[in-house]
Symmetry: C2
Subunit: 197 residues, 2 copies
Amino acid sequence: MTTDNAAAPRRRGAVRTEELLRVTFELAAEVRYSDLTIAAVARRAGVGKHTIYRRWSTKSELLLDALHRALGPALDYRDTGDVRADLREQFIRSSAALLSPAIWPVYRAVIIAAQDDDALRERLYRQFLAVIEQHTLDRLTSAQRAGELVADADLGYPAEVLCGALYYRGLLSTRPIDEAAIDGLLDMFMAAYAASP
Amino acid sequence: MTTDNAAAPRRRGAVRTEELLRVTFELAAEVRYSDLTIAAVARRAGVGKHTIYRRWSTKSELLLDALHRALGPALDYRDTGDVRADLREQFIRSSAALLSPAIWPVYRAVIIAAQDDDALRERLYRQFLAVIEQHTLDRLTSAQRAGELVADADLGYPAEVLCGALYYRGLLSTRPIDEAAIDGLLDMFMAAYAASP
DNA sequence: TGTCAACGGCACTGGTGGTGCCGATAGCAT
DNA sequence: ATGCTATCGGCACCACCAGTGCCGTTGACA
């Protein structure tokens, strides 16, 4: 009996970290939130629990880190001079990214975990939601300066409302987030704030 | 002898049931979601776990039942002929009810639990969210008939958006749901849909 | 080649959801 | 008033989890 064998060599450091994040996404996409456990991630990765706790002190930390690495680029806004078209393109693109089967399970897990943890909720808002709101607001302000939107409107609420409606569908409603929904949102927004010709 | 009331014979069960629901609200208001356990409810009520499982097959059932009993009345709409004032009054009143320290912890717990359970999510939407949306839509349609709102608008999205914005703040944003927020929402809505004089 | 931190495995504590079994008791019919 | 029976509380039990400690192994770098 030979000492086997073809078993994968034990990986360390950064390589393990990447693999653990990958496994986290994989598992989050397959199981329910209550089964998305540190122990389960460790089992699937063929790793001791210590190897996870050494990197992230809580499950929330792991999830937030995973999300952060996956989301970076999807949140940029174009400015072509047509604010409705830009918003439409941006909402379709970012909702597709956030709600993709790869990312949404982790995103939702963070949202759930944040309901128990004020510090995490603060980080979630600051690192993701506030960023999206601010980018939206920036684009709206630019449109306002360009005369596309009425000059005296407070655009803070609309930026929040546009985002909020999408999360409402994702978390609570049973209706899908599709282009029709986004067009419906934008119809309401433009009816309220488009500058009269 | 009248047709005997096989429906609600006041057994010791009913008294216990009321007490268990009361304890559930009490505990939900005090501890984090992850500590809102069947065992904890049983302990505080001085009851065996069986006494709970005999009534509700899962924690979700218990929470949904508790919520259902507590929320009934808060969801009615007035119709005074001034749609903005009616919506304002209704949103302030219903958000105060939903977000009260007594109810919101249980409501939020149901929302969290629903993320793991499609059937519960369907019931949550049908029994609460869809009811609120529909009442809002009914009031909007009435206003449309009365000539307060533009005649050709599709009011389905606005009804959803108005609700969605509040849940966004309650679950995700770190900003409060106050009268200023509700006025901001209504400003946007009225700017989009108020009939021109 | 040697060193040492990172690693995987195992065990342990204290908690959970959920079930089974027990003897006690409350409430109803008689 | 008495007895019958479902409900009750208590306890033990299973499988699983978060989180920590210990130990022998191993891989990467000096």
